[in-house]
Symmetry: C2
Subunit: 189 residues, 2 copies
């Protein structure tokens, strides 16, 4: 019955996501306070700031996986899976964006997870190419790169109040596939 009183570790993790999303430079003391937990308890569960951030990053990846899986349940088309994942992942920016300010590239576990994500994305993209969603000649690496950054752009767009969640998702997907070109920019051939 720990649903009534969440385990301290989970409380710390939740508080860390909250506090750091507000102010990426916050101290461990602030995180412990938000969690309603003593600073010592935080150190009982995490070796230090680095360890905590590492844990948050791995959880963030899990959450993205979960959101993508939920959005793609029962979807066969790789292109449609990419489109739904794009839409599903946008709201996670609020919770995860602060991780982009942390130096995570040195951590092997995180790097391995990033590699896995990247690999899976590229497989989906290649499959979507076979569907005709992307042109075969377009480099898969670039499609993946553009996909990631357009997700970020969509999140920022929503945060800035320039678009709703679904509008931003629609615009990002459209940009990726058919572009924003007008009359003067017809697709060649």
């Amino acid at each position: 019955m720990q649903s009534l009183r969440p385990t301290p570790k989970d409380a710390i993790i939740d508080a860390a996501f909250d506090v750091l999303a507000d102010a990426p430079g916050s101290s461990l003391a602030e995180i412990a306070a938000r969690a309603g937990v003593g600073r010592a308890t935080l150190h009982r569960h995490f070796a230090g700031r680095e360890d905590l951030i590492r844990t948050l990053a791995l959880i963030a990846i899990e959450e993205m996986d979960a959101a993508a899986d939920a959005a793609c349940a029962g979807v066969d088309s790789p292109g449609e899976a990419l489109r739904r994942t794009l839409e599903a992942v946008i709201p996670l920016g609020d919770r995860h964006w602060f991780l982009s300010r942390e130096p995570l590239e040195n951590d092997p576990a995180i790097a391995a997870e990033f590699d896995r994500l990247m690999r899976e994305t590229r497989e989906l993209i290649d499959a979507a190419k076979d569907e005709g969603v992307f042109e075969q000649a377009a480099p898969t690496a670039w499609i993946a790169q553009a996909y990631d950054h357009l997700v970020f752009a969509a999140w920022e767009s929503v945060k800035a109040g320039e678009a709703t969640h679904s509008q931003a998702a629609e615009l990002a997907w459209r940009t990726l596939t058919i572009g924003l070109g007008g009359a003067g920019m017809e697709k060649p051939k």
Copy 2:
């Protein structure tokens, strides 16, 4: 004749760009050392780390302006100006990327410059719409958002060795205008 021995302030600024591009968390001591300058001298020219970063950010904006202006000299077409600016700005990522890890949004001077850049970009985009480069119905704010992030994506792509500078610029521009869609993704209407 201070071209032989650059003024200490400039040496510090150059060193700061170098050191921080390598390791965004570097201390002022490391920056002063790289500049071949005493730590006290650094404090004689900059009130503190915040002041230094602020200065670097303003210089970075100047450099982007200069690169864009140089690339667009004699260009009349707004669309072409956007395309050339996109290409010209990509290499600056090596020097400027670390600023994306700094909290600059609170500084009024920087915010004002960002606003100016954003405004100019949007004016160019609107003009490009009239040329037919972008569809009139596409929100200008989104085009600007996508433009910025695709520049970043292009820089990362070059850094990762996935594309050359001009290939990345070409891919980013193509993504923005006609998209990456294949046979199954013809432009509607």
